[in-house]
Amino acid sequence: MPTPSEVTTLPSPPAEASSSRASFTSCPPEEERDHNAPRESRIDSPLPTGAETEAEAAESEHTTIQQQQPTPEPEARLGAPESVVESRAYHEKGEHIEDAGIATEAPSTAASSGDAPAESEARPAHSSSDATSPSTEPLYMRFPNERTRLPPHSTSSFLQPGSKFRGTQQSDRQIYDVQVEIKDINMPASSLSGYLRIQGLTDDHPTLTTFFEGEIIGPKHLFKTTHASWGSSEKVDLQHWARFPAWRPLAKSAAAAAAAANKNPTPSSTSSSSSSSSSNFTLKNYQQREHLFMRWKEYFLVPDHRVKTITGASFEGFYYICFNQCSGSVSGIYYHAKSEKYQQLELEHVGDGGCVGAVEFR
C-alpha cells in the first residue's frame, strides 16, 4: 500500500473503474477474447500439453467442420446408427477436454480400492469409467433451480468470504504488520474484495484499513494491466510477475507463445515480442491450478470512505498478487510509479479449521 512520508491526496475512484466503457474494452467477455486473440497466445496448460492440445485441435477441427458444412449436422447424422455412435463419442471427447488437466494431475481413482463394498458404491463421478456404472452414485433430491440464487463460488478453502490473512509488508526501510480479510468473492466474475489493514504506518493512525478489490487473472482478466490510471505498463507487469516463482513455468509458455506469434506477420518489433504476446495472455482452467494470480487495488478507507487524505500515507498503487490455493499463502508486490520498488507483501492464512459462515447475496 503505502509509501511512508509521502503526502498525497487520496485519489477519487479511478475513472475506468466507474466508466463502464473503458473497462469493457479492456476486459472483454471471455468468448470475445477467445477468438479475437490468436489461439496460440493463450496458455492452455504449462505441462501436460499433449492431451490438451490434441483435444483442442480436435475441437477446432470440429468447429471448422461445422462451419464448412452447409448441410446441417442433424441431417448428416441421420443415416446409419454407427454414425450416431461416432458422433456421440466425439462429443464425449470434446467434453472431456475441460477435465484433461485435472485427470493428469489426479491419481486414477482405481488407486483406492474400496474397503467396504457399500462405500465404494458411493463415489462421485470422478472418471468416466466410474460413471458408466449407473447405480453406484448416491442420489440427492432435487428441485427445479431457483435462478435468482447467487451461491458462493470458491475454489480454495483459504479464499472464501471471511478468510483472514496475516503477515507483513516489507520495504527497504521498514516492516509493517498487515492483515487482510476477504469479504466477498465472485468466481464467475473473477473478482473479490476485502479489507487490508496496515499497522504503524503513521503516528496519527496506528491502524489504517482500506477496502480493496481484486481481479483474478483468468478468462476475464489478462496478465496485462488494462487500467490506464493504475499507471502500469506491459513492461512493469512482466517485471513484477517475473518476481513470483510460480510465474516461471508460465513464462516458458509465454515465450513459446511469443515464438508462435512471431511467425505471424504481427507488426511488432522483436524487442517487444514477448510483451506483445503477454498482452493477450491469460490462464485457462485457472481455478484448478495451484496458484491464482491477481491484482489488488485499494479504493477507499474503512470505516469512513469520505476521508480522502491521510497524512503520510497513500494507496494509489496496487498489488500484484500470487495466491497459493493449496497452502493459503499470499505473496504480493506493491507497485506505484512514485513509490519504492518491489515492496514485498507476505501473508499467511489464519487457520479457521474450515469453518465458513453462510453468506449469500440476495
Binding site: 466507474s18 463502464s20 469493457f24 471471455e30 468468448e31 477467445d34 483442442e56 468447429t63 442433424p74 441431417e75 441421420l78 462429443h91 470434446g94 467434453e95 477436454i97 489426479a106 488407486a111 483406492s112 462405500e119 458411493a122 462421485p124 470422478h126 447405480s135 452414485e137 448416491p138 442420489l139 440427492y140 432435487r142 428441485f143 427445479p144 433451480n145 431457483e146 435462478r147 447467487l150 451461491p151 480454495s156 478453502s157 471471511g162 466477498d184 464467475p188 466474475a189 474484495s193 477496502f211 483468468g218 476475464k220 485457462k284 491450478r289 477507499f300 470505516p303 469520505r306 490455493q325 493449496c326 479449521g353 474450515g354 469453518c355 465458513v356 453462510a358 453468506v359 447475496f361 440476495r362
Partner: protein, 1039 residues
Amino acid sequence: MVDTLAAIYHTGSMEALPEVELEAQATALRKLKNEIVGHDQRKERLVCDGVVDMLVGVLSSQHGTTGSRKSDANGPAPPTWSWTQKDEATFVICTLANGGAAFIPPLYAAGVPQVLMDLLAQTTAPRLRTATLQAFWNIVSAWSALREDPGDAASPVRVDVLTKEGIEVLSGILGSTLSDGDHNQQLQLRLIADIVTVSATTEAMKALLCQSPILDQFADFLAAYSIASEHVEYYGDTLRPPPSTPGTVTSMMSAICSIISGSTYRTHRFFLSPTIRDLFTQSWLASSDQRHLFGARHGFASTGEPLLPLLHIPAYGTTTHHYGSRAFPAMAALQNQERRGRSVFATITQGGDVDHVNAVCSWLLLLARSMQGHSRLVALNLLALVNNAIDADSFDVGHRSEYMQKNRERKKQIALLGVPLAAKLVQMASEGRSSGSDRSAQNDDMLVKEQACDVLALLVREFDELQVAAVDAGAIKYICPLLKKSFDPVPLAKPMWSARRTAGNADPTTLSPTRRSGSQGLPPETLHAMRCRQGALQALAALAEKEDVHRKAIVEAGVVPCIFDSLKPFPPGYSTGDRRRGQVIGPKDGSTTAVLLAACRAAKTMARSVSLLRTSLVDAGIAKPIFQLLHHADPRVQLAATDACINLLLEFSPMREDLIAEGVVKTLCSQAKRCGPGGGNGDLRLRVSSLWALKHLMSASPKEIKIKTLEELGTGWLIGVIRGEQQQVREYISAPGGGVSVGLSAPNAAGERVDLLNPQSSGMDVDVDVDEADPLAEDDDEQFGNDEACANDEEGDGEVMFDISSSTHYQASQLRSTLHSHNHPPASPTATHVPVFSSRRYLSSVRAIEQTPALRAQQAEVAVQEQALDFIRNLLNGEDCSSMFDHLLQLIGGARIFDVLTEKLVPVGIDPATGNGSATSSTRPIYGPSALIVSTVNILTHIANALPRHKQLLIAQKPLLKAWLPHFSHPDRMVRVACVWAVNSLTWIDDESDRRDARQRAQELRACGIEGAVRRLLGDEDLDVRERARTGVRQFEQL
C-alpha cells in the same frame, strides 16, 4: 340534461313500448351522449341521478325478446329499433367509462360488465358488437388504472372483470372471423385483444385464459400474419384465420404477453402451440427436419434468403467460468449421469426441442425488426418471455454440447439483434423523440415511454451476457434521465377546480352504490410518471444484477437518490377527496406499490456490492426507507423490502448497526414466525427471506445479539422449522390416492426422477403414470378440448425418452430412425414430420414442475430449512464458536441437536429404479437436497472446531457418523471439502492432554469407515478437496 333523462325515464318501462316511443328513447339517449361527451362533471351529475340503472335496464331488456329474435322468420318485422336503442345506450356507457376511474364503481355496482357480456353473447350485429366491445374496453382500461392506485385495497373493483363465460364469448368471436376480414372485424379483434391484455392481471385470470382456446387463437393469427408477410414459406394445409392488420397483430401480441407472463408453463403453451410448431415444421417441401435453418447461424433462411443477419458463433469453447450449472456447482461432475434420463424429468432435462425454440426466437426477432415503435416493443416483450421460459427449464442440461451450443447461439443472437433494439427504444423514450404528431403516434410514444424500460429489464434479467449487451448499447445512459424525469412536476391537463361543491357526494352513504361515483384515482399524468419510474427502476435493477461495473456506472449517473426517493409510499392519509380541494397528488409525493416493488428490487441488486454498501448506498441513507417498508401493508412490499434487507444486514454493511438500532431483529423474527393460514407459498417466502436476513445478522455479530436473536426466535420454534413439517410431507406422500404423484418425487442429483412413494414400482412405467396421476395434468387442458389434436399426433412418442440411448444425444429424427423399427410403428402418415419430441408430454412435465402443489410445498419447505440450518451455522461461526455451542447445548440439549442433524443426513427414500428388472440388485438410497447437506455438514465442521469435549461429544454420535459417511462422495465439492475439514479438526491434537482422546477419535473414525472415505478423496477431481484430504490422511497417520 335532466329533462333528457326524464324523457328516457318516462319511456323507461320496457314492456310493449310502441315503436314511436322507442324511437324517441333512442333519440334521447343519443342526445344524452352528446351532452356528456368530454364533460366529467355532467357525467357525475348523471350518475348521481341514476343513469346507470336506467342504462342497465335498456341493455338487459332484450332478455325476454331473444326468443322472439330466434323466431324472426315467421314472426313480425325484426325489432331492429331495439338494437339501435341499445347501440345508443352502449355509447353512453362508453362515454361514461371514458370519464375515468371514478365511474367504474357505479358501473360495477350495476353489473354493467356482465350485462355487456350477455349482450355480446346474444348479438351478431356488427355495429352493436363493436360498440359493446368498445364500451367493455373503456371500462376495463379505466379499471386497470384504478388497480394501480395505492388507495383502498379492499375496493370491490379489485375483482376480475372477465369471467369464464366472458372468455368463451370472446373466443367465439375470434373463432368466427375465419371467413371475412372487413374493417369492422379488425376493430373487433383488436378490441378483444386489448381487453384480454388489460384484464389478464391475476394468476387466476391468466390461468383461465391459458386454458381457453383464446391463447391458441391469438397464436394462429400471429402465424397467419407471418405467412402473409412472407417471413415463412409455408407448405402445410392447416386452416388459419385471414391475416390481420399490423395494429391488430400488435394488440394480439400484447394479449399473449399478458396471458403468459409469470409462468414458464403458460409460455411453453404459447410457443409449443400446434400452429406455431406447424409453422416451422411445414416450411419445406423436403421431408426432413430443416428447422435449424431458422437458427442464428443461418439467419432464418426459410425462403432461401436469410432474413436476419448471419451470426458466426464459434463452437462451444473449453473455458468456462461457471464450473457446473449456476445453481448446483458440482453438476460438471455429474454430466455423465445426467445423460441417463429415463424419467418424466428426462423430457425436461433433454432441454426441449432446441431447434424449435431457436426458430421461435428468431421469428420473434424478425417480427420485432419488421415493426416500429410500440409494436416492436411488444414483439421484444414476447421474445423476452419466451427466452426466459426456455432458460428456466434447461436446469439439468449440464454440458450437453450440442444443446449448449444452440442455446449459446440463441443468446448471442438476442444480445446482438434484440437487446440493441430494446435499448434504442429506451433511447427514444428518454430523448422524447416523437414518431409523429397525430394522436395515435402520440399514444404510441407514450406507451413506448412507459414500457420500453420494462421490456429491456425483462429481456436482460438473469442473463449477464445480455446485461452487458444492454449497457454496451448505452442503456444506463438513457434509463437514468427517464428515472429522474419521473420526479418532475407534471402539468395536469384537467381543471381541478369546480364551482359547485360536490353536492352529490355530500352524504355518499345515503346514495345507492350505482349512483355514487368513486374515487378518481391518481391523475393520469401522475400514473404515467409512475409507470415510467417503475420501468426505469426495473431496468436498473436488472442491469445491476451481476456486474459491479454496471452498478458503479449507475452510481456515476447519480440516480441513487432517485432510488431512495422511490422507496417512499404515498402518504397514508391521502384520499381523492383532497384532490377536489386542490391538493393534487403529484409524482413527487410518493410512489405506487408497483414502484415500491421495483425500487426495493433495485436497492437489492445495487446492494450486491461490498463497495457500494460502504459508499453510495450508505451515503444515500437507503436503510431507513427500506426498514419502513418492512411494515408496509402489502405483503409483496414486505417481501421485497426483506429481500433488500438481506444484503443490507451483511457483516460488511455499515447500515447494519442502524437497522439493528431501528429494531430490525424483532421485525424479522416476527415475520419469520408469522405463517398465514394454510401456510401458503407466499408466507413461506417471507419466512425464507427473514431467516436469510437473520442468518446474515448472525455472522460476525457480538454474542449478545446472537443470544438475543435466538431468544426472540425461540429454540423450540427453530428446531421445529429445521425438522420441517416431516409429518406433513408424509401426508403428501400418501395422499393422492395410490397413484404416483410427481409431487412426491423430485429430480435428483442425476436429473432423475425420484419416486418416494412407490419404491417397488417398476422404473419403466413411472413416466407413464405421470399424466394420469397428476391431478393438474388433464382437467383444464381438456376443458376446452383444444389439446386433442396434438395429443393424437404425438401420442406414444414420448416413450422413446425411456430408452437409455435417447439420453446420450438428443436428436429427434435420429432417435426415431434407430428406434421405431422395433417397438414404435410409425404412428401416422405424417410421422416423418413428427419429431420424437412430444410437446404434450413436455408441457405436462413443465406444468408438473411449476404447479404441483406438493412439489412446491416441499421446495418451499426445503428453502426454509436451509436458511434455518445456516442460521445455526452462522451462530456458531466466529470466535465464540464453543461458547455458542455450549449455549445451544444448554437450551436445546445435545441429544436433540444431534438427532436433528442426523435426520438431515439419512436417506429420505430408496431409488425405485434400482432393485428391479435390471441386473443391478443393489438399492440406491436417496438423500435430501444438496443445500441441506451442505448446511448440515458445515455445522458439523463448526462443532468439530469447538472445544475438545465438543469433539468427544460429536464422535460419540454413532448414528450421526454412520449417516454422515455417504456424503463424503457428494457431487458438490463444498460438501466434500467441509467433510474433510471436519475430520481434520477431529483428528487434530489440541494440546498434549488431548492426544489420547485424539487417537481414540481417529480410531472411531477409522472404525466407521470415514478414514477410508477421506483416503479415497485423495483422488478427487477438485484440487482443494485433494489437498485437504492429504492433510487428513497425514493426521491419521501421525496418530
